[in-house]
Amino acid sequence: MTEALSQPLFGIFLSLAVFLIGQWLFKVGKGFFLFQPLFVGMVLGIIMLVIIGHLLHTSTIEVYTKYYKPGGDIVFWFLTPATIAFAIPLYKRNDIVKKYWFEILLSLIIGSIISLFLIYYVAKGLGLDRTSIAAMLPQAATTAIALPISTAIGGNASITAMAVILNAVIIYALGDWLIKIFHLNQSEIGAGLGLGTAGHTIGSAKALELGSVQGSMASIAVVIIGVVVDLVVPSVARILGL
């Protein structure tokens, strides 16, 4: 039994199975936001790992590393080519990029600086400790940028990783609703940049569903925000005295 589980096939199969259940639930539940396939897949997957851990009398973390991760990593690897694929929607709307590049750049820089200060005060207000507050700051970037920056400013990298993943899950589940209640789609460029900043590549996929302008703007946001986090977060952390 455990031999079969430690094949990469198990991780790939589990990922597919929980995601397909999610898609089915989403269809049956007529698009209820908690039935978003990614969210359902994540919750069901974790529950499965916890159950297997109980059956095999080991910890969930061990089940994850020994049995899920070999296959999970294979699926995860494809996020890399999928990320570079966002160059295509970006290129398709090169007209917008050429016309508004200065505003796009400025929006992302100003937007992320304001967000950083607000996130700091929200985190402090809710009583997080110093390392958790610092971990919250680089979350707009993708994991590969956010984690080293988090460590550099004295944050807990595992909390940062959690934040980056949850950003995407939240945007995937609540994106449509948030766009509606904040009337974000009145500016297609704004909606795209916001989705790319808050939801990373998942936000970009969501933005593409809204339209080609939104999709291309979200793609550019993923790139620029990474650089902005690299440059801005360490200085802001210093200003805030972290």
Partner: protein
């Protein structure tokens, strides 16, 4: 150049293996560039790859039809590709239990803040841009609102 124009003059797309080859080549080159950045300024392979592929497309070195199908396919299943990341939170269950619900609440609020603030900042700056443009061109035409290329943003949602 709108997407529709691009689609209508789009010749036959390249075989899928060729498309995969281009992706692999771009990724390989990116993975060579990525370690050149200092540790204090990390730029990961996928980000470099995105920029590289964008530049290759913009300079017409790589044609759209050489990468479009495979790229769209990858983007269409990005929700699935993210499942392992979601499930990896199984290793953070302890952290979550320790730091309690506050951390999740802060993350949710942060996500909404980043979305809304970036979107509103952009909306304001674009509005400013269009205002400046139209006041500059106002003396030429009173109907600039319908003809100005800077209003194209609103009409191109496809």
């Amino acid at each position: 150049m709108t997407q529709k124009q691009t689609d209508s003059r789009q010749p036959k797309s390249a075989p899928i293996l060729v498309q995969m080859g281009i992706f692999a080549a771009v990724l390989f080159v990116s993975s060579l560039i990525s370690p050149l950045f200092p540790a204090s300024f990390p730029v990961p392979t996928p980000v470099i790859g995105l920029i590289l592929l964008y530049l290759l497309l913009t300079c017409h070195i790589v044609k759209l039809e050489w990468v479009d199908n495979f790229g769209s396919f990858l983007i269409s299943m990005i929700g699935f590709l993210f499942v392992p990341s979601g499930i990896s939170l199984a290793t953070s269950l302890d952290t979550m239990a320790k730091s309690g619900i506050q951390i999740i609440i802060v993350i949710i609020i942060s996500t909404v803040l980043m979305l809304v603030i970036t979107a509103y900042t952009a909306r304001f700056l674009i509005l400013l841009h269009n205002k400046l443009q139209s006041s500059r061109s106002a003396h030429q035409s009173t109907t600039f609102k319908h003809h100005s290329p800077f209003k194209k943003e609103v009409s191109n949602n496809d």
